[in-house]
Amino acid sequence: MKVTRRQFFKVCSAGLGGSSIAMMGFSPTAALAEVRTFKLARATETRNICPYCSVSCGVLIYTTGDRSKNTPGEIIHIEGDPDNPVNRGTLCPKGAGLRDMVQSKDRLKWPEVREAGSNEWKRISWNEAIERIAKHMKADRDKNFVAQNKDGVTVNRWPTLGALASSAASNEAGYLTVKFLRALGVTQLDTQARI
Protein backbone atom coordinates (compact mmCIF):
# COMPACT_ATOMS: atom_id res chain seq x y z
CA MET A 1 0.00 0.00 0.00
CA LYS A 2 1.32 3.38 -0.93
CA VAL A 3 0.45 5.85 1.77
CA THR A 4 0.48 9.55 1.06
CA ARG A 5 1.04 11.99 3.86
CA ARG A 6 -2.59 12.88 4.07
CA GLN A 7 -3.54 9.21 4.18
CA PHE A 8 -0.99 8.70 6.87
CA PHE A 9 -2.59 11.33 9.09
CA LYS A 10 -5.93 9.73 8.45
CA VAL A 11 -4.40 6.42 9.36
CA CYS A 12 -3.09 7.87 12.60
CA SER A 13 -6.35 9.38 13.69
CA ALA A 14 -8.47 6.46 12.62
CA GLY A 15 -6.00 4.07 14.19
CA LEU A 16 -6.16 5.96 17.42
CA GLY A 17 -9.91 5.98 17.38
CA GLY A 18 -10.08 2.35 16.41
CA SER A 19 -7.67 1.24 19.04
CA SER A 20 -9.35 3.17 21.80
CA ILE A 21 -12.70 1.66 20.92
CA ALA A 22 -11.04 -1.73 20.83
CA MET A 23 -9.60 -1.20 24.25
CA MET A 24 -13.02 -0.45 25.60
CA GLY A 25 -14.12 -3.84 24.37
CA PHE A 26 -15.74 -3.05 21.06
CA SER A 27 -13.45 -5.15 19.02
CA PRO A 28 -15.28 -6.63 15.99
CA THR A 29 -15.53 -10.38 15.82
CA ALA A 30 -13.62 -11.95 13.00
CA ALA A 31 -15.79 -12.88 10.02
CA LEU A 32 -16.37 -16.57 9.77
CA ALA A 33 -15.17 -18.60 6.86
CA GLU A 34 -17.95 -18.65 4.34
CA VAL A 35 -17.46 -19.25 0.64
CA ARG A 36 -18.70 -16.66 -1.82
CA THR A 37 -22.42 -17.13 -2.35
CA PHE A 38 -23.20 -19.00 -5.54
CA LYS A 39 -23.83 -16.08 -7.82
CA LEU A 40 -26.37 -17.73 -10.09
CA ALA A 41 -28.86 -18.52 -7.38
CA ARG A 42 -32.32 -17.75 -8.77
CA ALA A 43 -30.98 -16.16 -11.93
CA THR A 44 -33.00 -16.77 -15.09
CA GLU A 45 -31.42 -19.32 -17.41
CA THR A 46 -31.82 -19.12 -21.19
CA ARG A 47 -30.50 -21.60 -23.73
CA ASN A 48 -28.66 -20.07 -26.61
CA ILE A 49 -25.79 -20.79 -28.98
CA CYS A 50 -22.35 -19.26 -29.12
CA PRO A 51 -22.12 -16.88 -32.08
CA TYR A 52 -18.46 -17.43 -32.85
CA CYS A 53 -17.23 -20.50 -34.72
CA SER A 54 -19.35 -23.14 -36.34
CA VAL A 55 -18.99 -25.73 -33.63
CA SER A 56 -22.02 -23.78 -32.40
CA CYS A 57 -21.64 -24.64 -28.76
CA GLY A 58 -24.72 -24.52 -26.59
CA VAL A 59 -24.55 -21.84 -23.94
CA LEU A 60 -26.60 -21.00 -20.90
CA ILE A 61 -27.18 -17.30 -20.45
CA TYR A 62 -27.93 -16.18 -16.90
CA THR A 63 -29.86 -12.98 -16.41
CA THR A 64 -30.99 -11.17 -13.31
CA GLY A 65 -34.63 -11.06 -12.46
CA ASP A 66 -37.46 -13.38 -13.39
CA ARG A 67 -38.70 -11.75 -16.61
CA SER A 68 -41.33 -9.84 -14.70
CA LYS A 69 -42.56 -6.72 -16.40
CA ASN A 70 -40.47 -4.17 -14.57
CA THR A 71 -37.16 -5.99 -14.41
CA PRO A 72 -35.40 -6.11 -17.74
CA GLY A 73 -32.82 -8.78 -17.14
CA GLU A 74 -29.13 -8.02 -17.16
CA ILE A 75 -26.78 -10.75 -18.34
CA ILE A 76 -24.56 -11.70 -15.42
CA HIS A 77 -22.91 -14.84 -16.68
CA ILE A 78 -22.65 -17.17 -19.65
CA GLU A 79 -21.40 -20.73 -19.52
CA GLY A 80 -21.61 -23.93 -21.51
CA ASP A 81 -24.79 -25.95 -21.94
CA PRO A 82 -24.06 -29.48 -20.71
CA ASP A 83 -26.95 -30.92 -22.74
CA ASN A 84 -25.50 -29.90 -26.09
CA PRO A 85 -24.00 -33.10 -27.49
CA VAL A 86 -21.09 -31.31 -29.15
CA ASN A 87 -19.70 -29.07 -26.46
CA ARG A 88 -21.18 -30.87 -23.45
CA GLY A 89 -20.84 -27.78 -21.30
CA THR A 90 -17.34 -26.86 -22.38
CA LEU A 91 -16.43 -23.55 -23.98
CA CYS A 92 -13.32 -22.14 -25.61
CA PRO A 93 -11.66 -18.86 -24.60
CA LYS A 94 -13.93 -16.93 -26.90
CA GLY A 95 -17.13 -18.58 -25.76
CA ALA A 96 -16.20 -18.49 -22.10
CA GLY A 97 -15.82 -14.72 -22.38
CA LEU A 98 -19.06 -14.05 -24.26
CA ARG A 99 -20.41 -11.71 -21.61
CA ASP A 100 -17.70 -9.20 -22.43
CA MET A 101 -18.78 -9.25 -26.06
CA VAL A 102 -22.44 -8.67 -25.25
CA GLN A 103 -21.44 -5.89 -22.89
CA SER A 104 -18.63 -4.50 -25.00
CA LYS A 105 -18.08 -0.78 -24.77
CA ASP A 106 -18.15 -0.72 -28.55
CA ARG A 107 -21.74 -1.92 -28.93
CA LEU A 108 -23.80 0.37 -31.14
CA LYS A 109 -26.84 1.75 -29.36
CA TRP A 110 -28.62 3.93 -31.88
CA PRO A 111 -28.54 4.76 -35.57
CA GLU A 112 -25.85 7.17 -36.64
CA VAL A 113 -24.82 8.83 -39.83
CA ARG A 114 -21.52 10.13 -41.07
CA GLU A 115 -22.18 12.67 -43.77
CA ALA A 116 -19.99 13.35 -46.79
CA GLY A 117 -16.70 14.97 -45.82
CA SER A 118 -17.51 14.89 -42.12
CA ASN A 119 -15.16 13.59 -39.47
CA GLU A 120 -17.80 12.54 -36.97
CA TRP A 121 -20.90 10.51 -36.30
CA LYS A 122 -24.25 12.11 -35.80
CA ARG A 123 -27.00 10.35 -33.88
CA ILE A 124 -30.26 10.08 -35.80
CA SER A 125 -33.61 8.43 -35.20
CA TRP A 126 -34.52 5.08 -36.71
CA ASN A 127 -37.16 6.78 -38.77
CA GLU A 128 -34.70 9.24 -40.23
CA ALA A 129 -32.14 6.54 -40.87
CA ILE A 130 -34.56 4.28 -42.73
CA GLU A 131 -35.98 7.21 -44.68
CA ARG A 132 -32.60 8.47 -45.80
CA ILE A 133 -31.29 5.02 -46.69
CA ALA A 134 -34.45 4.13 -48.62
CA LYS A 135 -34.19 7.38 -50.58
CA HIS A 136 -30.60 6.64 -51.51
CA MET A 137 -31.51 3.13 -52.54
CA LYS A 138 -34.51 4.11 -54.60
CA ALA A 139 -32.68 6.87 -56.41
CA ASP A 140 -29.81 4.52 -57.17
CA ARG A 141 -32.08 1.65 -58.22
CA ASP A 142 -34.32 3.76 -60.41
CA LYS A 143 -31.28 5.19 -62.14
CA ASN A 144 -29.13 2.10 -62.55
CA PHE A 145 -31.60 -0.79 -62.82
CA VAL A 146 -30.92 -2.97 -65.86
CA ALA A 147 -34.14 -4.51 -67.18
CA GLN A 148 -32.61 -6.03 -70.30
CA ASN A 149 -29.03 -6.69 -71.31
CA LYS A 150 -27.65 -5.59 -74.64
CA ASP A 151 -28.82 -8.80 -76.27
CA GLY A 152 -32.37 -7.99 -75.27
CA VAL A 153 -32.59 -10.72 -72.61
CA THR A 154 -34.65 -9.74 -69.58
CA VAL A 155 -32.18 -9.66 -66.72
CA ASN A 156 -33.87 -7.36 -64.15
CA ARG A 157 -30.80 -6.65 -62.08
CA TRP A 158 -29.51 -3.80 -60.00
CA PRO A 159 -25.75 -3.90 -60.46
CA THR A 160 -24.74 -0.81 -58.51
CA LEU A 161 -25.70 -1.95 -55.03
CA GLY A 162 -23.30 -4.34 -53.34
CA ALA A 163 -24.19 -6.35 -50.29
CA LEU A 164 -22.12 -8.47 -48.00
CA ALA A 165 -24.03 -10.64 -45.57
CA SER A 166 -23.07 -11.78 -42.14
CA SER A 167 -22.30 -15.36 -41.34
CA ALA A 168 -23.41 -14.83 -37.80
CA ALA A 169 -27.00 -13.84 -38.42
CA SER A 170 -29.68 -16.48 -37.91
CA ASN A 171 -30.99 -18.60 -40.76
CA GLU A 172 -34.21 -16.60 -40.59
CA ALA A 173 -32.41 -13.27 -40.80
CA GLY A 174 -30.29 -14.56 -43.66
CA TYR A 175 -33.33 -15.86 -45.47
CA LEU A 176 -35.25 -12.61 -45.09
CA THR A 177 -32.20 -10.67 -46.24
CA VAL A 178 -31.71 -12.71 -49.39
CA LYS A 179 -35.41 -12.62 -50.15
CA PHE A 180 -35.39 -8.82 -49.84
CA LEU A 181 -32.19 -8.30 -51.83
CA ARG A 182 -33.16 -10.65 -54.66
CA ALA A 183 -36.55 -8.96 -54.94
CA LEU A 184 -34.72 -5.67 -55.41
CA GLY A 185 -32.67 -7.30 -58.15
CA VAL A 186 -29.37 -7.29 -56.28
CA THR A 187 -26.74 -9.58 -57.81
CA GLN A 188 -23.63 -8.00 -56.32
CA LEU A 189 -24.12 -10.16 -53.29
CA ASP A 190 -21.67 -12.16 -51.26
CA THR A 191 -21.17 -13.55 -47.81
CA GLN A 192 -18.51 -13.99 -45.23
CA ALA A 193 -18.50 -17.68 -46.08
CA ARG A 194 -16.31 -17.02 -49.09
CA ILE A 195 -13.57 -15.41 -47.09
Binding site: K2, V3, A14, G15, G17, G18, A22, M23, S27
Partner: protein
Amino acid sequence: MIRDPKDLQRYTASERANHWLVGICFILLALSGLAFFHPAFYPLVQLFGGGTWARVLHPFIGVLMAAAFVVMFFRFRALNVMTDADREWLSRVREMVDGNDHNMPEQGKYNGGQKMLFWLLALCMLVLMVSGLFMWRAQFSFPVDLVRLASLAHAVAGVVIIALIIVHIYAAIWTKGTVRAMWYGTVTRAWAKQHHRAWYRQMTGK
Protein backbone atom coordinates in the same frame (compact mmCIF):
# COMPACT_ATOMS: atom_id res chain seq x y z
CA MET B 1 12.05 11.90 44.90
CA ILE B 2 13.55 15.15 45.83
CA ARG B 3 15.62 16.71 43.15
CA ASP B 4 18.89 18.05 44.27
CA PRO B 5 20.73 20.73 42.35
CA LYS B 6 23.87 18.74 42.87
CA ASP B 7 22.44 15.73 41.05
CA LEU B 8 24.37 14.77 37.99
CA GLN B 9 22.93 15.37 34.52
CA ARG B 10 23.02 11.97 32.87
CA TYR B 11 20.88 12.67 29.80
CA THR B 12 19.95 15.88 28.05
CA ALA B 13 16.35 16.55 27.16
CA SER B 14 17.01 15.78 23.55
CA GLU B 15 18.64 12.48 24.38
CA ARG B 16 15.70 11.55 26.53
CA ALA B 17 13.22 12.46 23.84
CA ASN B 18 15.25 10.43 21.38
CA HIS B 19 15.25 7.44 23.69
CA TRP B 20 11.54 7.58 24.30
CA LEU B 21 10.76 7.99 20.66
CA VAL B 22 12.66 4.79 20.04
CA GLY B 23 11.07 3.25 23.08
CA ILE B 24 7.50 4.01 22.12
CA CYS B 25 8.10 2.83 18.59
CA PHE B 26 9.65 -0.28 19.97
CA ILE B 27 6.69 -1.08 22.13
CA LEU B 28 4.26 -0.58 19.26
CA LEU B 29 6.44 -2.66 17.01
CA ALA B 30 6.87 -5.39 19.54
CA LEU B 31 3.14 -5.60 20.13
CA SER B 32 2.19 -5.63 16.50
CA GLY B 33 5.16 -7.80 15.55
CA LEU B 34 4.26 -10.38 18.14
CA ALA B 35 0.71 -10.34 16.82
CA PHE B 36 1.97 -11.32 13.39
CA PHE B 37 4.42 -13.78 14.81
CA HIS B 38 2.24 -15.93 16.98
CA PRO B 39 -1.54 -16.37 16.93
CA ALA B 40 -1.59 -16.14 20.72
CA PHE B 41 -0.64 -12.50 20.40
CA TYR B 42 -2.93 -11.75 17.45
CA PRO B 43 -5.58 -9.99 19.59
CA LEU B 44 -2.95 -7.29 20.15
CA VAL B 45 -3.79 -6.01 16.67
CA GLN B 46 -6.94 -4.56 18.20
CA LEU B 47 -4.71 -1.95 19.81
CA PHE B 48 -3.96 -0.70 16.35
CA GLY B 49 -7.45 -0.79 14.94
CA GLY B 50 -7.34 -4.33 13.63
CA GLY B 51 -5.02 -6.58 11.68
CA THR B 52 -4.87 -4.50 8.56
CA TRP B 53 -4.06 -1.32 10.42
CA ALA B 54 -1.44 -3.13 12.41
CA ARG B 55 0.06 -4.40 9.14
CA VAL B 56 -0.04 -0.94 7.60
CA LEU B 57 1.41 0.84 10.62
CA HIS B 58 4.11 -1.62 11.65
CA PRO B 59 6.56 -0.84 8.85
CA PHE B 60 6.04 2.90 9.05
CA ILE B 61 6.66 2.84 12.79
CA GLY B 62 9.64 0.66 11.99
CA VAL B 63 11.05 3.29 9.69
CA LEU B 64 10.50 5.94 12.34
CA MET B 65 12.19 3.82 14.95
CA ALA B 66 15.06 3.06 12.66
CA ALA B 67 15.57 6.75 11.99
CA ALA B 68 15.39 7.64 15.64
CA PHE B 69 17.67 4.79 16.52
CA VAL B 70 20.25 5.83 13.99
CA VAL B 71 20.42 9.25 15.65
CA MET B 72 20.69 7.62 19.01
CA PHE B 73 23.34 5.28 17.76
CA PHE B 74 25.58 8.11 16.64
CA ARG B 75 24.94 9.96 19.87
CA PHE B 76 26.03 7.11 22.07
CA ARG B 77 28.40 5.21 19.90
CA ALA B 78 31.55 6.83 21.26
CA LEU B 79 30.50 6.19 24.83
CA ASN B 80 29.99 2.54 24.14
CA VAL B 81 33.43 1.60 22.95
CA MET B 82 34.47 -1.51 24.80
CA THR B 83 37.51 -1.21 27.05
CA ASP B 84 39.55 -3.70 29.04
CA ALA B 85 37.68 -2.65 32.13
CA ASP B 86 34.41 -3.53 30.40
CA ARG B 87 35.68 -6.90 29.47
CA GLU B 88 36.81 -7.42 33.03
CA TRP B 89 33.37 -6.36 34.18
CA LEU B 90 31.71 -8.75 31.81
CA SER B 91 33.83 -11.66 32.91
CA ARG B 92 32.58 -11.10 36.40
CA VAL B 93 29.00 -10.42 35.52
CA ARG B 94 27.79 -13.35 37.63
CA GLU B 95 28.79 -11.54 40.78
CA MET B 96 26.88 -8.54 39.57
CA VAL B 97 23.77 -10.55 38.89
CA ASP B 98 24.12 -12.11 42.24
CA GLY B 99 23.69 -8.67 43.75
CA ASN B 100 27.29 -8.48 44.82
CA ASP B 101 28.86 -5.52 43.08
CA HIS B 102 31.47 -4.63 45.60
CA ASN B 103 34.36 -6.07 43.70
CA MET B 104 33.24 -5.03 40.25
CA PRO B 105 35.78 -2.95 38.38
CA GLU B 106 35.20 0.78 38.15
CA GLN B 107 32.84 1.69 35.29
CA GLY B 108 32.49 4.78 33.16
CA LYS B 109 29.17 6.19 31.99
CA TYR B 110 28.20 2.71 30.83
CA ASN B 111 29.22 -0.58 32.19
CA GLY B 112 30.22 -3.54 30.05
CA GLY B 113 26.74 -4.98 30.16
CA GLN B 114 25.17 -1.80 28.93
CA LYS B 115 27.71 -1.54 26.18
CA MET B 116 27.09 -5.05 25.12
CA LEU B 117 23.37 -4.36 25.12
CA PHE B 118 24.01 -1.29 23.04
CA TRP B 119 25.85 -3.21 20.38
CA LEU B 120 23.44 -6.12 20.40
CA LEU B 121 20.54 -3.73 20.06
CA ALA B 122 22.29 -2.01 17.20
CA LEU B 123 22.89 -5.32 15.51
CA CYS B 124 19.28 -6.41 15.97
CA MET B 125 18.04 -3.07 14.75
CA LEU B 126 20.15 -3.38 11.64
CA VAL B 127 18.85 -6.86 10.94
CA LEU B 128 15.27 -5.81 11.62
CA MET B 129 15.55 -2.75 9.48
CA VAL B 130 17.05 -4.49 6.46
CA SER B 131 14.92 -7.62 6.69
CA GLY B 132 11.87 -5.49 7.37
CA LEU B 133 12.36 -3.68 4.11
CA PHE B 134 12.55 -7.01 2.28
CA MET B 135 9.29 -8.02 3.88
CA TRP B 136 7.49 -4.79 3.15
CA ARG B 137 5.32 -6.07 0.29
CA ALA B 138 3.21 -2.99 0.05
CA GLN B 139 6.26 -1.06 -1.10
CA PHE B 140 8.79 -3.49 -2.45
CA SER B 141 9.07 -6.74 -4.26
CA PHE B 142 12.10 -8.92 -3.68
CA PRO B 143 12.90 -12.49 -4.71
CA VAL B 144 10.89 -14.83 -2.58
CA ASP B 145 13.88 -16.72 -1.21
CA LEU B 146 15.32 -13.47 0.06
CA VAL B 147 11.99 -12.62 1.65
CA ARG B 148 11.89 -16.00 3.32
CA LEU B 149 15.35 -15.51 4.76
CA ALA B 150 14.39 -12.01 5.79
CA SER B 151 11.23 -13.23 7.48
CA LEU B 152 13.18 -15.70 9.55
CA ALA B 153 15.88 -13.17 10.37
CA HIS B 154 13.25 -10.57 11.27
CA ALA B 155 11.55 -12.98 13.60
CA VAL B 156 14.78 -14.08 15.27
CA ALA B 157 16.08 -10.56 15.61
CA GLY B 158 12.69 -9.45 16.87
CA VAL B 159 12.61 -12.05 19.60
CA VAL B 160 16.19 -11.33 20.57
CA ILE B 161 15.59 -7.62 20.73
CA ILE B 162 12.46 -8.04 22.80
CA ALA B 163 14.41 -10.22 25.20
CA LEU B 164 17.19 -7.64 25.33
CA ILE B 165 14.74 -4.90 26.00
CA ILE B 166 13.16 -6.89 28.80
CA VAL B 167 16.61 -7.21 30.29
CA HIS B 168 17.18 -3.51 29.66
CA ILE B 169 13.96 -2.51 31.37
CA TYR B 170 14.47 -4.93 34.18
CA ALA B 171 17.97 -3.71 34.77
CA ALA B 172 16.62 -0.19 35.00
CA ILE B 173 13.97 -1.21 37.47
CA TRP B 174 16.29 -3.42 39.43
CA THR B 175 18.94 -0.77 39.78
CA LYS B 176 17.11 1.74 41.88
CA GLY B 177 17.57 5.35 40.97
CA THR B 178 18.11 4.59 37.33
CA VAL B 179 14.75 5.19 35.78
CA ARG B 180 14.74 8.86 36.71
CA ALA B 181 17.71 9.33 34.41
CA MET B 182 15.40 8.75 31.53
CA TRP B 183 12.50 10.68 33.03
CA TYR B 184 14.15 13.92 33.92
CA GLY B 185 17.76 13.40 33.11
CA THR B 186 19.52 13.37 36.45
CA VAL B 187 20.87 10.80 38.81
CA THR B 188 22.09 11.25 42.34
CA ARG B 189 25.78 11.44 42.81
CA ALA B 190 25.58 8.47 45.12
CA TRP B 191 23.99 6.45 42.35
CA ALA B 192 26.69 7.52 40.00
CA LYS B 193 29.40 6.76 42.46
CA GLN B 194 27.98 3.36 43.18
CA HIS B 195 27.35 2.21 39.65
CA HIS B 196 29.55 4.30 37.39
CA ARG B 197 32.42 5.50 39.54
CA ALA B 198 34.69 6.50 36.71
CA TRP B 199 31.94 8.60 35.22
CA TYR B 200 31.28 10.03 38.69
CA ARG B 201 34.88 11.06 38.99
CA GLN B 202 34.85 12.54 35.53
CA MET B 203 31.70 14.53 36.28
CA THR B 204 32.63 15.71 39.72
CA GLY B 205 36.35 15.84 39.35
CA LYS B 206 36.72 13.77 42.52
